[in-house]
Structures are given as structure tokens and as C-alpha cells.
């Protein structure tokens, strides 16, 4: 005996140089995850003789003669370990990708260490939860409700994946053993702009294990966009699967397929590429000037690098400014940040025994990926199957097809299964980011604070490819401007190509960037008027009787399904005043308070639809199929709750499957806050149709009025008369009746959701350190279908907002190369950085969204960074207008102004 994992002897020996993480996974124990492979995230934490270690930093040889324990080995006598149970009770996860490592770390803490979580959880990152639920788990707090028939909607039911997540058995994209698997790796461009003159493959092909090399000469010469929108016309077709021009550092140059990952990597290094270096441009303002190097000559030469310009005006801002007693004008900018979902991008493709092609992937839009793949490779739609199992976070990053195409192409050519998993570095340099935007805001107001004119000018750096460029720009000019009532509004914006990594979809989608600018500007204006942040907003924010209008006067399908913005402001004001939170630390600290609001339409203006299918099963339970992706947003849970509540049953009585082009109806993708209002609506319509099917059948066979029948848990009732569903099913199916239903939902009209963030913080006058002392957030998301889950989504979004405000920043050198492509240097909030935010809900019930609910996963992030900037301004008298507010940048600005 030499190697033991979870008390089971392992027969194989580690390969020379293998780390413990991959050794464990090779043994089929997939509960051990990878978030970074460099010791930064803790997703791979296991115990070695009871001591927690990062298995990615451990040579597998060191486990010889030792006990390795993973999350899969924690159960004892069929019972969950108390920490696993605590994670269930507190629902201390969303996507759950961090949970395996988090549980191993927490389960090894002693009492003293539990008292100091900021320090002792430093090595475990979670991108989804904002850590509140994890803290609750450590302290044994239960947040879940019981599953009671008919009461599913509005109850905090646990996620149906709970057991799988806490025991490590939930299968994420890479958690399958595939026989005969080949591995794909890509060589990425070291240059920001270069033409590929030649690629010498001979050395790469000579490496043992290398099977095939793909270059631009091997791919279909079809232009497409990796952005997954059903309407492919909103994104420019400006990329090839592999191109002979590299337009950013990190762009794919060639792919190598080999028997092992190591051989594929070695193959990439052995490729000899001759580049002709082309002039590059990184700044969008420079890129718009005459003489700038042009990135794309695909039919838009006349516009240079400007991919799209969007503008509009209502009223007349010129006269509005003439009317104003006070005018404020300033430029604000936001930084380039990455989603950093803990599960990196990746897919596995193979040809099945059915002769069809299958792609298992980590996507937010399997159906759109399916369409794009069919188009690119000329596949008949029914010959291709695209699906997700469990997705480890998305946040918009997986509204992009960045791995599926190469895997599929390699499988088609080689006939063997092919896998490609991004490294964390590739995630930073070769995926997508939030669009960097610079926003000039000009506001005019009367002396009493009434806005007379609002003008916004946005320059968006869309990077080397234009996917999401026009949609994010449109979003930036949309809801953030409709938040305020003003007769005269004007906006224009350009999305500009540069030799930077492409922008993509990211929680808040363009609106985050301009909300930052406008909400800071509102406070700057208030300062000039001698008003406070609450007063200026109350004076100007839209009310339920106003028209929801940005800068276009044509009719819109956005309506107030409900209105709770006023209540959100009241809640935040009261919470900030209640004396909770921490006192300012002693020493040279300045204290300040700030607020900001955000408004987001529930769903995008482009076409969006989703379908649901339901069946009654012989045992009286239900099967539900929806196309939308569960990526930690909890949609799978809220969907079954919606169905259960309409069918009068328990959540657990509804079995659900999602995001699979074979097994679920079509869905345009889970993004732009559509999980509840579109897919959820589809589920509601389907469940209602099945409900009607069942009760009308009962009425028919008993010859009684249908209105007298109702569904209760596992029976239909009419007064005291009760027919068990199992019996009804039997009678019905024998008579040829089918208990099933299918419905589609289309997104229109669209309702609107509101958020208000309040922050009290302290900033150190000498070091520039920021400590959040009190963080409160109120949301009007209609009726929360699962309050705990909604709270978690908001906490996660707020935490991500703090990351954007305070620590996250992709830094580049003068040649467009990213300097910090690792979680070691790109700082997503750890436990210690994340204040506990008090989440409050406005008491509203939406008339448009399903069962009174509205969208909730996205817009909470938008109000955070401006609230922090407003609090900093309140504390120091200095406006920090450019993200992020890291200590050195605060120091720089304070020392200049001092």
C-alpha cells in the first residue's frame, strides 16, 4: 500500500512531476477542483494526514504512505460531516465550485481559528456568495425553510443540487472520465497586432503524443462572433476560429491536440511562428483619430475603428442648460475587469454511438452555441447536441463561445473525444472582460435641485472584436439615464476597436459603467447645490407616473410592473442611520457615507424567449424541462418552486432538467436578467397549462365542473372527493390521455427593477486604505421567489461591486500585455475584504413578471462602486472618478490635493 485517497488504496503511481490535484482526479475523485492551479484559490484543498493543503501545490509523491482526504471522504457512516450539514443548512454556495475546498478548510478549523475567519479563510476564494452564507455556515446558522406543499413560492428552499455540492459529487463540466480522450491546447499571440507569416509545425509534430496541429489554414473561412445572441446581427461577424492576423495579446494562433495535456502544451511551445508586427493602438480615443492603425477592414473602413455609434436626444439640452442655475460637468471612467468565475471556460466534444456530435460545455447559452457551431462547421442541427451539466459560475463571461468550436472541430477531424480546459491565465488573457468605458456627464439643475438637462457621452473600448460592443453601449445609454426625470436628455456613444482583449457580457452589462458616472455626477451636482444625496435623488428620480425614457422618444415596451424605488431609498436611509456597523478605527482615518441608486430593465431589448415542458409521472411527481442554464444563479431552484407552487405541490416533487439541446425546449440564453422573467415565465405558463390539463381531466371523468377541482400536493380534490395523482395518471394513460404541457414565453413587456446601495466607510489619510464600516442594500425585485437565494444573489453582486470599486484591475504594459493574469495579483475579494451587507427588500409584487417576481441577479452590482466613490468624497472632499480606488491611487490623489 502506498497511496490512499478517502481510505481507498489507489493502485496507480503518480507520473513524474505530477501534482496531487491531478493525481486525485485521475483516480476518478472529481470532488477536488481547480480554480487557479497556483495556490491562490483553495478550490483544490484536501487533507494530508488531516492537515489542509492546496493539492495543486503538492507533488503527488508527497502523499505516499499518507492519508489523503477529499470532500468525498468526509461522510461518516452515511452521515454528512457536521460542516457539510452546516453548508446545506446555510446554503453556503451558489455555483458550488468553491464549496469542496471551502468545506475542507472549514472542517479543519479549531475554535480559535473559527473566531478569526478573515485570516483563516484567506486561502479560499468564492466569487458567488459574498461570503455571508459561508460565515453563517461556520456559525451553524440555518437559512432554509421546510418544503411544504403549495407554499413553495416565497420559501427559502435549498438548491436541489445541495447534496451533490457538499459531498463533491455534483459534476461540473470537467468532472467526467472519458475514454480515449485527446487534449487540446492553444498557442496565443505574444503580440498585440501582427500578421502570421508562417507557422513551422515540424518540431511540434515530432513531440511524442502530439496528434494534430490546427492553424488558420485549417479552419472554415467563415466570419462569426463569439458573443452568443440569438439575433446574430447585433454583433459584428469579425472573427475566425483561427485567424492569420492577431489583434490582441492572447488571441488564439494555433491549436495542438495531443494524448496528454503536457504533450499538447509542449507542442504549442514548439511551434515556430513568424510574425510581421503591425502597429497597434490601445486607447479608443487614439483609435478614432485619422491615421490610427485600422483593426478590421471588413466593410467598415469608412468608419475607421469605430464599430458603432449610438445617439439620441429628447427635448433640447441646449435650452435645458440655459435654464440651469448650476451646471456640473466631469469625466468618470471605469476599469477593465474579468468575471473570474471559479470554473474556467472549457468543453469536451465527442462523436457518440448514435453517430451524432456531442459538446459538453460551460455555457450560459447552449442553444446559441449550438446554432453557431452548426453554422461554422456545416452540421445539420439534429446531428449536434450541446449541453451543460453543472456550471461553476458565469456572470456573463459564459455568454460567449470561446472553447466549443476548437474542440468540436478537432473531434470532427480526429474521430476521438477532445477536451480543452482554460488555465486561469488564459481566462484573463484569452476570454472576455467588462468593457472599459469613459463617460463624460453634464448636468444642469435649477437652484431647488430640479434637473433641467442631462447629457452623457460614452467611449467604450470594445477591444479587438466587437461582440457585445453595441449592446453594452446601448445599455449604458439606456436605463441609467431613464432613472431620472428630466425634460432634456442627450447622449451619444462610440464603441471602438482597439488592440486590447475583447469586451464581453458582464453582470450589469454596460449599465454598470454609466451608472457609476451618473451616480457620482449626481452627488457632485448635489454638492454644488448644497443638497445631500438623498434629497437630490428624491427630487429627480422617476416615479410611477413618469414615462420611462432615456434619449429616444419612440414608444418602449418597458413598464412599471411595480415600483419600489422610493421605498428602497427610505430603507437605506433608515438603515444607515440606525447606528449599526463598525465604528471608525482609531488613528488618522476619515469617515464618510455615500449612496447610489440603479435601475435596470428586466431583460434586454432584443428578442428573448424560452420554453418549458412538463409531464406528470406515474408516481405522481412531475418532470420539468427548461432550456435556461443554471450557473449558480439558482434558477433551477426558483423554476421548480414556481412550478410547484402553481401545481400545489412541494419543490421536491418536481424533478428538473435544464440547458440541453436534446432534452429541453429552446431558450435564447441565461443572461441579461432573463432567468426569472423569461424562463421563469415559461415555467409558470407550462405549469399552469399542466395544472389545467390535470384538473380538467378530473372534471371530465367525474362529469363535474372544472372550477370545483384543485391540485393539492399529490392529489386532485373536489370538496371531500380526492383522486390520487398516481391513480388519475393510471386512469388517464390507459384511456389514452396525456398529462403533459409545453409553453413558450416571450419577453415583452419588460418590467423594471431598482436597487439602492448605502456605504459608510473610513479611509486612512496616509496609507489610503479603505475599510467599509457599514454596508446596506435595498432592492425592489418584486416578490422574492426564494428569499434566501435572492439575498445570496444580491450579496454576491454587492461583493463583486466592492471588488470592482476597490481592488480589481487588469493592468497592461505599453505593448498590450497583461501584467497580472493570476489571482495572486488580480485581486477578487476574499473573505477579509468583503463587508457583511444588510440586504433589504422593498415590499412590491410585480404585475408583469411571473408570480410577482422581477429580475434580481444583475443590477445590484451597479450601485456599489458609485456609492463607494460618494462615500470617499464625503470623507475626504476629493472626488475619486476613476476605478479602482486602491490604496496607492487614493494616496496619490490625496497627496496631490493635500
Amino acid at each position: 500500500m502506498s497511496y490512499t485517497i478517502d481510505s481507498k488504496a489507489v493502485s496507480q503511481e503518480p507520473r513524474p512531476g505530477q501534482c496531487l490535484r491531478t493525481f486525485i482526479r485521475d483516480a476518478g475523485v472529481f470532488g477536488v477542483k481547480k480554480g487557479c492551479d497556483q495556490g491562490d484559490c483553495g478550490a483544490c484543498t484536501v487533507w494530508l494526514d488531516g492537515v489542509p493543503v492546496h493539492s495543486c501545490l503538492m507533488p503527488a509523491h508527497r502523499a505516499k504512505d499518507k492519508q489523503v482526504t477529499t470532500v468525498q471522504g468526509l461522510e461518516h457512516d452515511g452521515h454528512l460531516h457536521p460542516v457539510q450539514q452546516a453548508f446545506c443548512d446555510a446554503q453556503a454556495f451558489q455555483c458550488g465550485f468553491c464549496a469542496a475546498g471551502m468545506i475542507m478548510t472549514v472542517a479543519a478549523l479549531d475554535e480559535e481559528q473559527r473566531a478569526d475567519l478573515p485570516r483563516n479563510l484567506k486561502g479560499n476564494l468564492c466569487r458567488c456568495t459574498g461570503y455571508r452564507a459561508i460565515e453563517d455556515a461556520v456559525h451553524g446558522i440555518r437559512s432554509t425553510d421546510d418544503d411544504i406543499a403549495g407554499a413553495a413560492c416565497g420559501a427559502s428552499l435549498p438548491n436541489p443540487f445541495t447534496q451533490g455540492i457538499v459531498t463533491g459529487h455534483a459534476r461540473y463540466t470537467m468532472d467526467v472520465a472519458v475514454e480515449n480522450l485527446l487534449h487540446l491546447k492553444v498557442l496565443r499571440s505574444p503580440h498585440a497586432h501582427a500578421r502570421i507569416v508562417s507557422i513551422d509545425q515540424s518540431k511540434a509534430r515530432a513531440i511524442p503524443g502530439v496528434v494534430e496541429v490546427f492553424t488558420w489554414e485549417d479552419v472554415p473561412r467563415k466570419l462569426f462572433s463569439s458573443a452568443t445572441h440569438e439575433d446574430h446581427l447585433v454583433d459584428p461577424d469579425d472573427m475566425y476560429v483561427l485567424d492569420n492576423v492577431a489583434r490582441f495579446v492572447g488571441q488564439r494562433v494555433a491549436a495542438v491536440v495531443a494524448e496528454t495535456e503536457a504533450a499538447a502544451e509542449a507542442g504549442c511551445r514548439a511551434l515556430q511562428v513568424e510574425y510581421e508586427i503591425l502597429p497597434a493602438v490601445f486607447d479608443p480615443v487614439e483609435a478614432m483619430q485619422d491615421g490610427a492603425p485600422i483593426l478590421h477592414s471588413k466593410g467598415n473602413e469608412a468608419k475607421g475603428n469605430i464599430f458603432v455609434t449610438i445617439k439620441g436626444e429628447v427635448g433640447n439640452v441646449e435650452s435645458g442648460f440655459a435654464e440651469a442655475a448650476v451646471v456640473h460637468e466631469k469625466t468618470y471612467s471605469t476599469s477593465r475587469v474579468q468575471h473570474a468565475h471559479l470554473e474556467t471556460h472549457g468543453s469536451i466534444a465527442w462523436r457518440g454511438e448514435d453517430g451524432r456530435l456531442h459538446v459538453r460545455t460551460s455555457t450560459q447559452a447552449p442553444f446559441i452555441a449550438h446554432q453557431k457551431l452548426c453554422y461554422l462547421f456545416g452540421i445539420f442541427p439534429h446531428d449536434l447536441h450541446v449541453f451543460t451539466e453543472r456550471v461553476g459560475g458565469g456572470f456573463g463571461g459564459k455568454q460567449e463561445m470561446v472553447s466549443e468550436d476548437l474542440c468540436l472541430m478537432a473531434t470532427m477531424k480526429l474521430g476521438r473525444p477532445v477536451k480543452w480546459e482554460f488555465t486561469r491565465e488564459e481566462q484573463f488573457i484569452g476570454a472576455t472582460t467588462r468593457h472599459q468605458m469613459t463617460t463624460k456627464v453634464k448636468l444642469g439643475a435649477k437652484a431647488d435641485g430640479t434637473l433641467t438637462a442631462l447629457e452623457v457621452h460614452v467611449v467604450s473600448n470594445t477591444g479587438a472584436y466587437g461582440g457585445h460592443g453595441s449592446e453594452t453601449l446601448a445599455a449604458s445609454l439606456g436605463s441609467p439615464l431613464s432613472a431620472y426625470r428630466c425634460k432634456n436628455k442627450k447622449a451619444d456613444g462610440h464603441a471602438v476597436y482597439t488592440n486590447m482583449i475583447p469586451g464581453g457580457g458582464f453582470r450589469g452589462y454596460g449599465a454598470s459603467q454609466s451608472t457609476f458616472a451618473i451616480e457620482c455626477a449626481m452627488d457632485d451636482l448635489a454638492e454644488k447645490l448644497g443638497m445631500d444625496g438623498f434629497a437630490i435623488r428624491r427630487k429627480n428620480m422617476i416615479g410611477p407616473d413618469d414615462v420611462i425614457e432615456s434619449v429616444w422618444s419612440d414608444p418602449s415596451d418597458v413598464s412599471f410592473g411595480s415600483y419600489g424605488l422610493d421605498e428602497c431609498l427610505d430603507l437605506v436611509e433608515a438603515a444607515l442611520a440606525n447606528g449599526e456597523g463598525l465604528p471608525a478605527p482609531e488613528g488618522n482615518w476619515a469617515e464618510g457615507t455615500g449612496i447610489a441608486l440603479s435601475v435596470l430593465e428586466s431583460g434586454p431589448p432584443t428578442e428573448h424567449r424560452s420554453g418549458g415542458e412538463m409531464r406528470l409521472l406515474p408516481d405522481g411527481s412531475y418532470h420539468l424541462a427548461v432550456g435556461s442554464t443554471e450557473m449558480g444563479n439558482g434558477s433551477i431552484n426558483s423554476h421548480r418552486q414556481i412550478a410547484a407552487s402553481i401545481l400545489g405541490t412541494r419543490g421536491n416533487n418536481v424533478d428538473i432538467i435544464n440547458a440541453d439541446t436534446d432534452l429541453t425546449p429552446y431558450d435564447t440564453g441565461t443572461f441579461a436578467s432573463t432567468g426569472t422573467v423569461v424562463a421563469g415565465q415559461a415555467v409558470a405558463l407550462t405549469a399552469k397549462a399542466l395544472h389545467d390539463n390535470i384538473v380538467s381531466y378530473a372534471a371530465r371523468i367525474t362529469d363535474t365542473p372544472v372550477e370545483d377541482w384543485s391540485l393539492v400536493d399529490d392529489a386532485v380534490m373536489n370538496g371531500n372527493r380526492r383522486i390520487e395523482l398516481t391513480e388519475l395518471y393510471k386512469i388517464g394513460t390507459e384511456a389514452g390521455h396525456r398529462f403533459d404541457a409545453k409553453r413558450k414565453a416571450y419577453l415583452s413587456p419588460r418590467t423594471i427593477a431598482f436597487n439602492v446601495q448605502g456605504v459608510r466607510l473610513a479611509v486612512h489619510r496616509v496609507t489610503g486604505e479603505v475599510r467599509v464600516l457599514h454596508s446596506v442594500h435595498a432592492a425592489d425585485i418584486g416578490r422574492p421567489i426564494n428569499p434566501m437565494q435572492c439575498r445570496g444573489q444580491l450579496e454576491g453582486a454587492v461583493a463583486m461591486g466592492y471588488g470592482w470599486a476597490l481592488t480589481e484591475h487588469m493592468v497592461y504594459d505599453d505593448h498590450g500585455k497583461m501584467l497580472n493574469p493570476a489571482l495572486r495579483n488580480y485581486h477578487i475579494p476574499a473573505f477579509a475584504d468583503t463587508p457583511r451587507t444588510k440586504i433589504m427588500f422593498a415590499d412590491t409584487h410585480d404585475t408583469i413578471g411571473p408570480l410577482g417576481a422581477k429580475a434580481q441577479g444583475e443590477c445590484a452590482i451597479n450601485a456599489v462602486a458609485p456609492a463607494v466613490s460618494n462615500a470617499l468624497a464625503n470623507a475626504t472632499g476629493v472626488r475619486f472618478a476613476h476605478l479602482p480606488f486602491s490604496p496607492d491611487r487614493i494616496f496619490d490623489q490625496l497627496s496631490v490635493t493635500a
Binding site: 512531476g17 483563516n120 509542449a266 496609507t767 501584467l819 495579483n825 485581486h827 475584504d833 496619490d892
Partner: protein, 265 residues
């Protein structure tokens, strides 16, 4: 990671002999070396594992002289009861390295041999005038840390221990890099029989260094007030994506004050 030959050494002599062949590197906690190999910043053909050598482990205290074996993990330094009583500043320093998993594997020998310009230990050893003991000789800390990731170690030379006389008073304060928690600037102050020594890590463009202006100020009065209004030049300080030299100069004074406050307890 790529293929590499793995050898388990059972004694220091054993390890030294193994190192004669090929392009070998010693592997201690692996917390620095393994990530470097994964990103191919290091690519040895052979790894010689030092973790099974018992003579490299443990802390011995005789009077005020402390000797820490090179293979001693950060966690053991952080939690050593007798050391805590004698030199709490060093335990405090060790308890703030990385995260629990790193503290359970990373070693003091690996840390000093690696001499990361942002590592914590080098400042303590320099400020306390420690001696680094190898399998061949003894080297004063002054002479040992020679630059960025550079030390006086010869090819194949093994750090076996560090030893120092506990100063009368000592304190450490670091401003952690927000992402990695390494020192963006860390200052160790020691007041001993040779006077006051102040060593700065994380800030110098050539690694850990002693700050003369701070030492002079504190020699007159070992009190945080003595540093009031003082500023240090930003020449020769590091400027990188995390902070400018000017910001680091500012932090050096602030951290020195905090370290003195801690030392005066």
C-alpha cells in the same frame, strides 16, 4: 506540470550528493517552487525533496539564542510557545504569511533561500542580525541577501538553519499587498545590543534593505513619535503594478511607526 525526476533525501549529506547530478533543485514546502515550475519560471530536471530530513526541523532556544531549522514550517514558528514568550514579533510575522495551507507547508529555509523581495522573513533576519547556517558555512544576514531572488548561496549549497540573538525589543508591521498578502511594504524594527536596526522588505528595488534615516531617528528615541514628520527618499524603491515608489516611501514610515508601537507593546 511537466515531467521531472523526484528524489527523496534522508539527510543533508544525501541531498548534497544528489544535487551534484543534473539540473537539480531542492524542494522544501514547494509553495514557491511548484507554482514557478507550473508557469515555467523554473524548469529543473530533478527535484530533491528535503521534507523528510529530520535534522532540518525544529526550534531550539538556549538563553536568548534561537535556532530554527530550515525545514521548520511557518505554522510551527507562529505557534511555538517558548518562542512566543521570547520573540513575539517573529511569531506574529510567521502567522501572517499567506494562508493556513501555505503556513502548513512553507518553510523558513525555503523563504530565505528564495529571497523574494516581498517575503516577510528576510526583514526579520536582517534586522536581528541573524546568521544563516548552511551545510558548508555560516553567513551573516547582511551578506546573505544579495538582491532580487539572489542570495550568497552557491550551487548545491543547502540552508540548514537560521540563528539569532533575540533583541531586547522587536516589532513587525506589514502593509499587505491587497491580492497576494505578501508585504507591499514590511518593516521589522529591533533594538538590541548593537543599537536599533530597521529592515524593510517589499519596497526596495534590490530586495530587503536597512533604512538609515529610520535607524538614526530611532537611535535617539525608540518611540513612534521620533518618526513624526520624517520622510524617506523614494530613490531605489520598487515601482510596479501595485504601487509607486513614492507610495512605498510613504508606507515605510507608517509601517515603521506601527512596528515600533508593537515593539513597545
Amino acid at each position: 506540470m511537466y515531467s521531472v525526476n523526484y528524489h527523496r533525501a534522508n539527510s543533508v549529506d544525501d541531498a548534497a550528493k544528489m544535487a551534484e547530478a543534473g539540473d537539480a533543485k531542492f524542494l522544501s514546502g514547494g509553495m514557491t517552487l511548484i507554482p514557478a515550475m507550473k508557469t515555467r519560471l523554473a524548469a529543473p530536471s530533478d527535484l530533491i525533496d528535503l521534507t523528510h530530513i529530520s535534522e532540518l526541523k525544529g526550534i531550539t532556544i538556549s538563553g536568548r539564542t534561537v535556532t530554527i531549522g530550515a525545514g521548520t514550517i511557518h505554522y510551527d514558528v507562529a505557534t511555538h510557545t517558548d518562542l512566543k514568550a521570547l520573540c513575539p514579533a517573529l511569531c506574529h510575522l510567521a502567522s501572517h504569511i499567506g494562508d493556513p495551507a501555505v503556513r502548513h507547508r512553507g518553510t523558513i529555509g525555503g523563504s530565505v533561500a528564495n529571497n523574494d523581495p516581498a517575503a516577510d522573513y528576510p526583514s526579520a533576519l536582517l534586522a536581528m542580525g541573524a546568521t544563516i547556517i548552511t551545510n558548508q558555512r555560516e553567513i551573516a544576514a547582511e551578506d546573505f541577501f544579495t538582491g532580487l531572488f539572489e542570495t550568497a548561496l552557491e550551487e548545491g549549497e543547502i540552508v540548514t538553519a537560521v540563528t539569532f540573538e533575540v533583541p531586547e525589543k522587536s516589532g513587525y508591521a506589514k502593509f499587505p499587498n491587497p491580492a497576494s498578502r505578501y508585504a507591499m511594504t514590511g518593516v521589522f524594527v529591533a533594538k538590541g545590543k548593537d543599537g536599533v536596526r530597521v529592515a524593510v522588505t517589499g519596497a526596495g528595488d534590490n530586495g530587503v534593505f536597512r533604512s538609515e534615516p529610520l535607524e538614526t531617528a530611532l537611535a535617539t528615541s525608540f518611540d513612534a513619535k521620533a518618526l513624526e514628520g520624517l520622510s524617506v527618499p523614494s530613490d531605489n524603491l520598487m515601482g510596479d503594478l501595485h504601487a509607486s515608489p513614492e507610495y512605498r516611501a510613504n508606507l515605510i514610515v507608517v509601517m515603521a511607526k506601527r512596528a515600533v508601537l508593537a515593539a513597545n507593546g
